[in-house]
């Protein structure tokens, strides 16, 4: 990966992407339940409620397409981990939603120009 970028700015880019994503989802009527929830198995970026469906949301942010699109960073392995994390979150909070969905928000923040946000509902 890019060696020139410091860890701090990488985190900063991630945090920026997450806030852009959250604003985008809330605008669509979703309600934030949890943010950057961590456990031994990993981290969930955003946990939201969309009607009576629980949404586990992964946010991927990129500043260029040099290493592929943000979408391509979420493969089957990551999806499996998110499912396991979702189960852990539900267990810990004792919530029984009608359905659970895993979403992806891809944020592209080019060096100049506006950010591009895309929301992919229901990864499978």
């Amino acid at each position: 990966m890019s060696g020139s970028r410091s860890a701090v700015s990488k985190q900063a880019l991630g945090a920026y992407g997450e806030s852009v994503a959250l604003r985008h989802l809330v605008e669509q009527g979703m309600v934030l339940l949890d943010r950057n929830w961590r456990c031994a198995g990993g981290e969930i970026d955003l946990v939201l409620r969309d009607g009576d469906v629980l949404v586990i949301c992964e946010v991927k942010t990129r500043s260029s397409l040099a290493c592929g699109s943000p979408h391509e960073a979420v493969g089957q392995l990551k999806l499996t981990r998110l499912r396991r994390l979702a189960a852990r979150w539900l267990e810990e909070h004792g919530v029984r939603p009608r359905d659970v969905r895993i979403d992806l928000v891809a944020v592209l923040r080019p060096t100049r120009g506006a950010s591009v946000v895309e929301h992919v509902r229901g990864l499978s």
């Binding site: 979408h71 493969g75 895309e118």
Partner: protein, 529 residues
């Protein structure tokens, strides 16, 4: 709805199936899945297509989940010619091509990473299959456009690259593209005498009247022929001159033959339609797969099918492998080869003349008369050798002919003027015209292919001739299969002589041709005169 359908053809043996290539582009975990029983080379199409699209300055939907289905999904598919249909379907599904442009069109071609369109084997049979299913447009690699254009009523688009195909479908100006290397390699070998067969003429041969006549009958009626005789008697020399006696192929035959050669991957670009009857003389080491068809992976037609409408010459026939000899039975009888495999089966036409040549013994020196006999084979060796010649295969051969060594008289007869290929060919052509008139509207064209039972009812012999053949049958000198062969031969003899219906004279000649007895040609000529 991000969804599009294109069509291509999957070949299974000699039959083509219309395949729907459906692409769905929707949000989800990014990736490309190809379903519908693709083999390894076809599964690699995902990567070829992706790079070809990207390098053609088009958009591959890399942030979407792409599902490609090849339906019917239960049929195993192989080959690389699906690439173009897949790429176009993905472009259609991602909204880069109008759906209407994809209708009633079959796409065939392999893509290179740079977006070029490479040739694939079997374009002609694929186009034929498409036409049979009511498709009116095919898009094929440019080097093979001439092959596809042989199919009447088909509008053919020969393209060099994916970018050209897309422009054509969008209805915009087609960009220039560099020509793509043709599928088959350049010929590395060429040698003097390569065109040797074209220069052979029957006039080069002295004597051998019986054998010459047998060859003429075989060529006229499409009969299988066995030439036996001691080494150096001229069996090969004679057999090589048979294709020269055959007329040019008619349009149907030519299309059939070209399609077979295309399936075998043996059609060079620019060859065009094959119009001359083929001649194949495989070495006696040939395997069953090479001679009858088969092979690993795709089932390919063998030499016997490539010699469809022409001549397959098996020199030193008894030296061929036993499984090859046994495998010849079915095509000799039915004019087609049926190959069955675990997963797929294929039927290829094989209506060529089969000409066999054999020696009287393994060393070739045997002669019935002791003073000519130079054979030093053991009796056992001779018997094993002969057992291969006789039996089921020779029963399916119409004409048996012994080629005797040239007598000193004939060899030095400076006044004899042997007939030329052109003279004999004109007689063969006349006889074939008579057969074409008689069998108009039938599925066969020649006496040698006419079905036995029908022949007896619709085109009987004169009663006296019929009785003569029946007598031989009752006496056990002829099998019932043999009787049918004699019947066919009698018709060919009659066609050659311009006789309306075969009589006793024709039946007599036919019987002699069949059993290998010497012909009484002088008598025949006198009666005809």
């Amino acid at each position: 709805m991000a969804f599009a359908t294109t069509r291509t053809i999957a070949l299974q043996g000699a039959s083509g199936h219309l395949i729907d290539v459906q692409a769905d582009v929707s949000p989800g975990v990014v990736g490309t899945t190809l379903v519908g029983r693709p083999d390894v080379s076809l599964n690699e199409a995902r990567d070829r297509c992706r790079m070809a699209v990207v390098n053609s300055d088009l958009d591959w939907p890399s942030t979407r989940r792409i599902t490609i289905l090849l339906s019917p999904a239960d049929m195993a598919k192989r080959g690389t010619h699906f690439d173009l249909a897949i790429a176009v379907a993905v472009l259609g599904a991602s909204g880069q091509l109008p759906a209407a442009a994809l209708e009633d069109t079959v796409f065939v071609g392999e893509l290179t990473l740079s977006g070029g369109l490479r040739g694939v084997p079997g374009v002609l049979p694929m186009t034929l299959a498409a036409a049979a299913r009511g498709i009116t447009r095919v898009v094929v690699p440019e080097p093979q456009a001439s092959e596809a254009a042989m199919v009447p009523g088909m509008s053919v688009f020969g393209m060099r690259s994916l970018a050209q195909v897309v422009a054509e479908l969008q209805g915009v100006e087609v960009p220039e593209a560099a020509p793509v290397a043709p599928m088959s390699g350049a010929r590395l070998l060429s040698w003097r005498g390569e065109e040797r067969l074209g220069e052979l003429d029957l006039a080069d041969l002295r004597g051998m009247d019986d054998a010459r006549y047998a060859v003429e009958v075989a060529a006229a009626g499409g009969h299988h022929l066995m030439l036996s005789g001691p080494k150096g008697a001229g069996k090969t020399t004679l057999a090589e001159r048979i294709p020269g006696l055959l007329p040019d192929l008619d349009p149907t035959e030519s299309l059939e033959l070209t399609a077979i050669h295309s399936l075998a991957g043996a059609l060079e670009p620019g060859d065009g339609r094959l119009t001359r009857p083929p001649f194949f003389a495989p070495h006696h080491d040939a395997s069953k797969a090479s001679l009858l068809g088969g092979g690993t992976g795709r089932v390919r037609p063998g030499e016997i099918s490539r010699a469809h409408c022409g001549v397959l010459f098996l020199d030193e026939f008894p030296l061929f492998r036993t499984d090859v000899i046994d495998g010849l039975r079915q095509p000799l009888e039915s004019g087609e080869v049926h190959l069955a495999r675990g997963g797929e089966s294929a039927t290829f036409p094989a209506r060529g003349m089969v000409v066999l040549a054999c020696n009287p013994c393994p060393c070739g020196g045997y002669h019935a008369q002791a003073r000519h006999n130079t054979c030093d084979c053991s009796e056992l060796k001779r018997r094993v050798y002969r057992a291969r010649v006789s039996g089921p295969v020779s029963d399916r051969i119409d004409i048996l002919r012994h080629v005797a060594p040239l007598s000193p008289h004939d060899a030095t007869d400076r006044f004899a003027e042997p007939e030329s290929t052109a003279t004999v060919r004109s007689r063969v052509e006349a006889a074939r015209r008579r057969q074409a008139e008689r069998y108009a509207g039938c599925s066969w064209r020649l006496n040698g292919q006419a079905p036995g039972p029908l022949l007896g009812d619709a085109w009987p012999l004169e009663p006296a001739a019929r009785r003569a053949v029946d007598d031989e049958l009752y006496a056990g000198r002829l099998t019932s299969r043999g009787a049918v062969r004699v019947h066919r031969l009698a018709w060919t003899v009659a066609d050659l002589r311009g006789v309306e219906r075969p009589g006793l004279a024709e039946a007599d000649v036919a019987l002699r041709l069949r059993t290998g007895e010497p012909l009484d040609l002088a008598t025949l000529a006198r009666r005809a005169g």
